[in-house]
């Protein structure tokens, strides 16, 4: 059995959180171990290195330097021979796939991991006992052989089952993967050629255009309107423009580098490949991910703890009865057989199946609620989660720009940002609004993709960038059809948006028949204002004054402060001189560019998903800290954090407080500040102690502008505090954090393959709210597993005590191996599983997350309850039935003591009972098996009561009700199964179970009632004296 685990060592087994077989320890091979150690160290160093920021300077070089470094001609590219040479040297341009575990290893892990070990040990002990028995020809009973075989079969079948379950979810995983071979356009020896992406080498001159996937890390040397979508790398959904100039020290921020496996959205660009394959930024992240050591899942730890307890109990019982049987004068051999028998009897055969099925059921239920669980054990992990590190874009937000506010007529109007967007309420009758809407609709390059008339406007796909699309949709929705508008006022000229101008101008023919043109403009508000000399108020033009400017400033600041992207709008009616047919020249401007009329502002935001604020609130009441980690700007991040409640209402960051009180940051008592926005660049300079302090002292934390590696650092920081951390993410950049977190949650819709690979769970609808339902399910299953285990373990006592008394008192065996198996693998199974369907006793989302150190799945109180209290009552019920059957057939209890020797002797065929009658061996064996059947039925009957009391841990059954239909079915099922086993003709041959008189069914009922009453009283005391002695001793 594996009790400890080496951390930090990277083996394929450990990449899977379920505990794998123990690495073989061969003391002789010191040399090899040493080597391993060195390797381990090296590996660790590598990972530390990978965690650091990428250091490269290719983006700082001038083109000449670049050309020299890679000895490449910037127009003709590499010579083909040279390229081949480099290809041979560096290898193909592909990511090394993470070392996949072979199927048989996965299978073995299911077969020998965790709980199975206990059963295997039991099976092996059985075979050993059988071996001893046959070798010494002692009592040639095959019970031990059968038991061993059954145990092995149970583990095997359960192993197959869970393997099948996980294989099924990994199959769903595979369906996500798209296997399209990629091509790249390279220029070699002056010739353009299409080659496979894996043949691209460092120094290659490549050309990319809109729609291409970037084949490697590229330093641009020329670009025309090139924009790339880096979302798979950084999570930022906004396409970014790319040009050859060096703009930022940081490789990830600079605009002249395109990254491997990101997408070029529009434009074209040429560049030199500076890194391929695993040395690309993406490659480094991928290898960082696969190199991370992953800890055990909480449930695996719990099961290990459980195995400890069970083993201790088993060994304790076994050894003490070993001693006792020696003292009673049994031979050594017999005592050893007894020892093994007792240890094996302690193994709860059915529990493995029960736990697996319970987890599978929950996994299924979660999948229905859009949480696809890849690893069965992760089902519970979510329930123990105490910190969720969530991504912003796509998880908390809808991942689409939407118009949030409008400002015109010196008033701010709020637009509806809900996902449905049914009604928009603002001053639609203002003339200013008409003009604003027309500018927004006409001065806009976005358009709907064709054939989407049936879809709601908000769901339609568009061409063009996010903010223009947002405007387009908004106008289409709240004003009128943009298409008609554009048909009526055709565009005659346009200056597209660029980052130097920061505005966009389009000139349209006026709608009325005046044959003149109107110039429409939108752009950065301060730029727009600079062009204006007048403004519109309720449709009337006024000349610009200071008051208006101040109002504008305030509005701009207000909207900007909400983290929204603000655009300004203005227009100019061109005079008659520019009538129809005038040739507008946009390069050398031949039309007026001043004295525009300012109309208003429109601000946009990627709005939070509607269900998220509620979900965050639920998390908070459930004691789960939600930390936002995003690559976005702090202001936007903070605005969204406030919007969804990560920074709750009324809580302010130190900066807010300073701004309000007009005092310096240092003057504020940091203890009063509960919220903080941490900038990525600050995080970079922090020591882990400082990070720990932040994580400990602030309840509401937002990390903005973080790099992928920092997300990992944050996750590790949280784990250092002893938290169980869930991390969400969609980009490749998130995958190290996903892997490192106790449960990594990837996005099913927007998530990249790499992130899905690294995650334990996939949110099929990308919605943060689904996590909360997942948490709920996880907590519920933990509670219910406790109940299931309590239920299953209880019957262990009535199963063990017969054997113990058989040894000590020398009575005929009251319960045989077969009947034990009938209970564990037959009648107990469905009721135990039915407890997985039990609804929560109280609002499980209103209590703090489980403390993994103290709140164990199986603790001594549970064992005390199951073994010491309920189990004992059950055993008495069984023995009572046993004695009743024997007494009514002629063997009174007093005459049974010490009868074992003659009873078991098949040559004694005239054994006398209490009435002087004489019994043959077979006759009394039939009686014995009838007793065992009776014992079995009694256990079934007391298990009714046990099942009902296990429904709740604190509440009365009368409060909880009997709404669990599966549980009622379970009770009926176990009863019918027991009756079936008891009365079916032929069972006497097959399982040696014999029909019972009806009265014998009733013997256990008083005990059943006793169990029920006792536990109700116990729970009553617990409820009425919270924290009292009884609770501390018996509340499991």
């Amino acid at each position: 059995m594996e009790f400890g685990k080496t951390r930090g060592r990277v083996t394929p087994q450990e990449l899977n959180p379920s505990s794998g077989p123990k690495p073989k320890r061969v003391p002789k091979m010191v040399g090899r171990r040493k080597k391993e150690k060195v390797k381990r160290k090296k590996n660790k160093a590598n990972i530390e290195e990978l965690k650091k920021e990428v250091v490269m300077d290719d983006h700082k070089l001038t083109l000449e330097e670049l050309s020299r470094r890679y000895s490449v001609d910037l127009t003709k590219g590499l010579r083909p021979e040279k390229a081949q040479e480099i290809l041979d040297r560096d290898g193909p341009n592909t990511l090394t796939p993470p070392p996949t575990t072979p199927e048989w290893v996965k299978f073995c892990k299911q077969l020998f991991g965790g709980f199975s070990i206990l059963l295997w040990t039991g099976a092996i002990l059985c075979f050993v006992a059988y071996g001893i028995q046959t070798y010494f020809n002692e009592e040639p009973t095959k019970d031990n052989l059968y038991l061993g075989i059954v145990l092995a079969v149970v583990v095997f079948i359960t192993g197959c089952f869970s393997y099948y379950q996980e294989a099924k979810s990994s199959k769903i995983m595979e369906s996500f993967r798209s296997m399209v071979p990629q091509q790249a356009l390279v220029i070699r020896g002056g010739e353009k050629m299409q080659i496979n992406v894996q043949n691209v080498v460092v120094g290659d001159l490549v050309e990319v255009k809109g729609g291409d996937r970037i084949p490697a890390d590229i330093r641009l040397i020329s670009a025309q309107g090139c924009k790339v979508d880096n979302s798979s790398l950084t999570g930022e959904s906004e396409p970014q423009s790319r040009f050859p100039h060096f703009t930022h020290e940081n490789l990830l921020e600079t605009r002249n580098i395109c990254f491997f496996s990101t997408n070029c959205v529009e434009g074209t660009a040429r560049g030199i490949v500076i890194a391929t394959g695993d040395s690309t930024v993406m490659g480094r992240i991928a290898s960082l991910t696969s190199g991370l050591a992953v800890g055990q899942t909480p449930i695996a730890t719990e099961i290990k703890h459980f195995i400890h307890i069970i083993t201790m109990v088993a060994v304790f019982l076994g050894v003490s009865f070993f001693g006792l049987s020696l003292m009673l004068g049994y031979s050594w051999l017999k005592a050893v057989i007894f020892l093994i028998g007792i240890i094996v009897a302690n193994v709860p055969e059915g529990l493995l199946v029960t736990v697996t099925v319970c987890l599978t059921l929950t996994a299924k239920r979660m999948a229905k609620k859009n949480c696809l669980v890849k690893n069965l054990e992760a089902v519970e992990t979510l329930g123990s989660t105490s910190i969720i590190c969530s991504d912003k874009t796509g998880t908390l937000t809808q991942n689409r720009m939407t118009v949030a506010h409008l400002w015109f007529d010196k008033t701010t109007y709020e637009a509806n940002t809900s996902e449905e967007q049914t009604v928009n309420t603002f001053a639609k009758d203002s003339d200013t609004w008409f003009i604003l809407a027309r500018i927004a609709g006409l001065c806009n390059r976005a358009d709907f993709k064709p054939d989407q008339e049936t879809l709601p406007i908000a769901k339609r796909a568009t061409t063009g960038d996010a903010s223009e699309s947002a405007l387009l949709k908004f106008i289409e929705q709240s004003y009128s059809s943009v298409k008609e508008m554009r048909e009526k006022s055709p565009k005659v000229a346009e200056i597209p948006f660029n980052s130097t101008n920061k505005y966009q101008i389009s000139i349209h023919l006026r709608e009325d028949s005046s044959q003149t043109h109107v110039l429409l403009m939108k752009g950065a508000p301060e730029r727009i204002l600079a062009f204006c000399s007048s403004y519109l108020l309720n449709g009337q033009e006024y000349s610009m004054d200071e008051e208006m400017k101040e109002a504008f400033q305030n509005a701009y600041l207000e909207l900007g402060g909400l983290g929204e992207r603000v655009l300004g709008f203005c227009f100019l009616n061109l005079p008659n001189t520019f009538s129809k047919g005038f040739k507008f020249n946009t390069d050398e401007v031949n039309f007026p560019m001043e004295n525009f009329c300012f109309v208003g502002l429109i601000s946009m935001i990627d709005p939070p998903r509607p269900a998220v604020p509620e979900a965050v609130c639920k998390c908070r009441s459930a004691g789960i800290k939600v930390i936002m980690v995003t690559g976005d700007h702090p202001i936007t991040a903070k605005a969204i954090a406030k919007g969804v409640g990560i920074i709750s209402e009324g809580t302010e960051t130190a900066e807010d407080t300073t701004a309000q009180l007009k005092v310096h940051v240092r003057q504020i008592d940091s203890r009063d500040v509960k919220a903080i926005v941490v900038h990525g660049s600050d995080l970079k300079d922090m020591s882990s102690v400082q990070l720990d302090e932040i994580l400990r002292n602030y309840t509401e934390i937002v990390f903005a502008r973080t790099s992928p590696q920092q997300k990992l650092i944050i996750v590790e920081g949280c784990q250092r505090q002893g938290n169980v951390v869930a991390a969400t993410g969609d980009g490749v950049n998130d995958s190290p954090a996903l892997k490192k977190a106790d449960i990594g949650i990837a996005m099913g819709v927007t998530g990249s393959d790499v992130s899905k690979q690294a995650a334990d769970m996939i949110l099929l609808d990308d919605n943060f709210a689904s996590i909360v339902t997942g948490v709920e399910e996880g907590r519920l299953i933990f509670d219910n597993l406790k109940k299931s285990i309590a239920y299953t373990l209880t019957s262990n006592i009535p199963e063990i005590t017969p054997f113990l008394l058989f040894i000590i008192l020398g009575i005929p065996l009251p319960l045989g191996t077969i009947t034990i198996l009938c209970i564990d693998l037959g009648t107990d199974m469905v009721p135990a599983i039915s407890l997985a369907y039990e609804s929560a006793e109280s609002d499980i989302m209103k209590r703090a997350p489980r403390d993994p150190k103290n709140d164990k799945l199986v603790n001594y109180r549970l064992i005390g309850m199951a073994y010491g209290q309920i189990g004992m009552i059950q055993a008495l019920a069984g023995f009572f039935t046993y004695f009743v059957i024997l007494a009514e057939n002629g063997f009174k209890p007093a005459d049974l003591l010490g009868i074992r020797h003659d009873w078991e002797n098949s040559y004694v065929n005239d054994l006398e009972d209490s009435y002087g009658q004489q019994w043959t061996f077979e006759q009394r064996k039939i009686l014995e098996f009838t007793c065992q059947t009776g014992f079995f039925v009694s256990i079934v009957i007391v298990q009714w009561a046990d099942l009902i009391i296990c429904k709740t841990r604190r509440n009365s059954v009368f409060q909880q009700g009997m709404k669990n239909k599966i549980l009622i079915f379970g009770i009926l099922e176990e009863t019918f199964l027991a009756a079936f086993l008891c009365y079916t003709p032929g069972m006497d041959m097959a399982l040696r179970m014999y029909p019972l008189k009806i009265f014998w069914w009733l013997c256990a009922i008083p005990y059943s009632i006793l169990i029920f009453i006792y536990d109700e009283v116990r729970k009553f005391a617990i409820r009425n004296h919270p924290g009292g002695w009884l609770e501390r001793e018996t509340y499991y």
Binding site: Y907, N909, D910, G916, Q917, I926
Partner: protein
């Protein structure tokens, strides 16, 4: 005050007023007053001896209050002991409950007939001398090999001595059941019929120098039928025991034998049996088989069965239902 292990209960004589149960708890000690004082006395052994009296509350709800009180600082160190106390009470109660149900059950069980006899529909057969594996091995020359059999048989047949039989039992009319119905009043004790040792003829062992034939290699084996209460064996028809060799070669090796009483008859008058308690001097009828010329140095499988109208002897599983199989081996040099 002597300190015992933390989990031991002991009578403490230092508290003189009444015998008290004391529970040593490390440095603290709790004395439970005997039932009539209904007080719990807590003695703190730290420093100067202090005694604190706690009134034992009455009723369940105040018992629960007791548990609450227990978490007070006074009892903080006393935890393990209290869980022991709890279990002691709990198991005490369980024992009482179990005893009660057992007592009720035993009240319902009759003294003279068991409630169910369906497992004993066919009485089994058994042999004497009883050997470990039901094999009668006789080394004629080696006295010790059969002496133990002889000893056992002597003892077994002692109650059949004619004198004892005549003294205790009735002479009954053969060929019919000796019924002694209760007729509403307990007819107790029941009388038994005589089965005299002399009926066993050559196998009676009376004045027998051959020791039941064991010294001459012609051993006697006694066959008896298991007692079953109220069983009317034979269903009013005569019955007898027959023996054969199990297989053909066994039959050959078995040779001839004689049976006592003649023909292996078992008389109806020995039935029915009324049970140990009422049928005190009941003497089980026997059939003795004397094997006259068993082929020596060969193991012979013998099977004897009873031929009675209401006793089936073909039970597949129970090899002793109405029959008995044993091995016979006479070793002669």
């Amino acid at each position: 005050m002597q300190r015992l292990g933390p989990s031991l209960w002991t009578w403490d004589s230092s508290w003189q007023q009444a015998p008290a149960t004391s529970l040593p708890l490390g440095v603290q000690k709790i004395l439970l007053g005997s039932a009539f004082t209904s007080k719990i006395k807590v003695v703190l052994n730290q420093g100067p001896k202090k005694e604190i009296l706690v009134l034992l509350p009455l009723g369940v709800s105040s018992l629960l209050n007791l548990w609450v009180q227990l978490q007070g600082c006074l009892f903080l160190g006393t935890f393990p002991a209290f869980i022991l106390l709890f279990y002691l009470v709990f198991y005490g109660f369980l024992t009482a409950m179990f005893t009660l149900t057992m007592w009720v059950m035993l009240q319902t069980v009759s003294d003279h007939t068991p409630k169910y006899q369906d497992r004993l529909a066919t009485p089994g057969l058994m042999i004497r001398p009883k050997t470990e594996n039901l094999d009668v091995i006789v080394n004629v020359s080696d006295t010790e090999s059969w002496d133990q059999h002889v000893q056992k048989l002597n003892k077994f047949l002692e109650p059949y001595n004619d004198s004892i039989q005549a003294q205790k039992n009735d002479v009954c009319r053969p060929g019919r059941y000796y019924e002694q119905p209760d007729n509403g009043v307990l007819n107790y004790p029941k009388r038994a019929c005589q089965f005299n040792r002399t009926q066993l003829g050559d196998c009676s062992g009376i004045g027998d120098p051959t020791h039941y034939g064991y010294s001459t290699g012609q051993p006697c084996v006694f066959i008896k039928m298991n007692r079953v209460i109220n069983f009317y064996a034979g269903a009013n028809q005569s019955m007898n025991v027959t023996c054969v060799g199990k297989r053909d070669e066994d039959a050959e090796n078995l040779g001839s034998f004689v049976m006592f009483p003649a023909n292996g008859n078992i008389d109806l008058m020995y039935f029915p049996y009324y049970g140990k308690k009422f049928h005190v001097n009941y003497t089980q009828p026997l059939v003795a088989v004397k094997f006259l010329n068993v082929t020596p140095n060969v193991e012979v499988n013998v099977e004897c069965r009873i031929n009675a109208a209401n006793i089936a002897t073909d039970d597949e599983r129970d090899k002793f239902a109405g029959r008995v199989a044993f091995k016979l081996r006479i070793n002669k040099t």
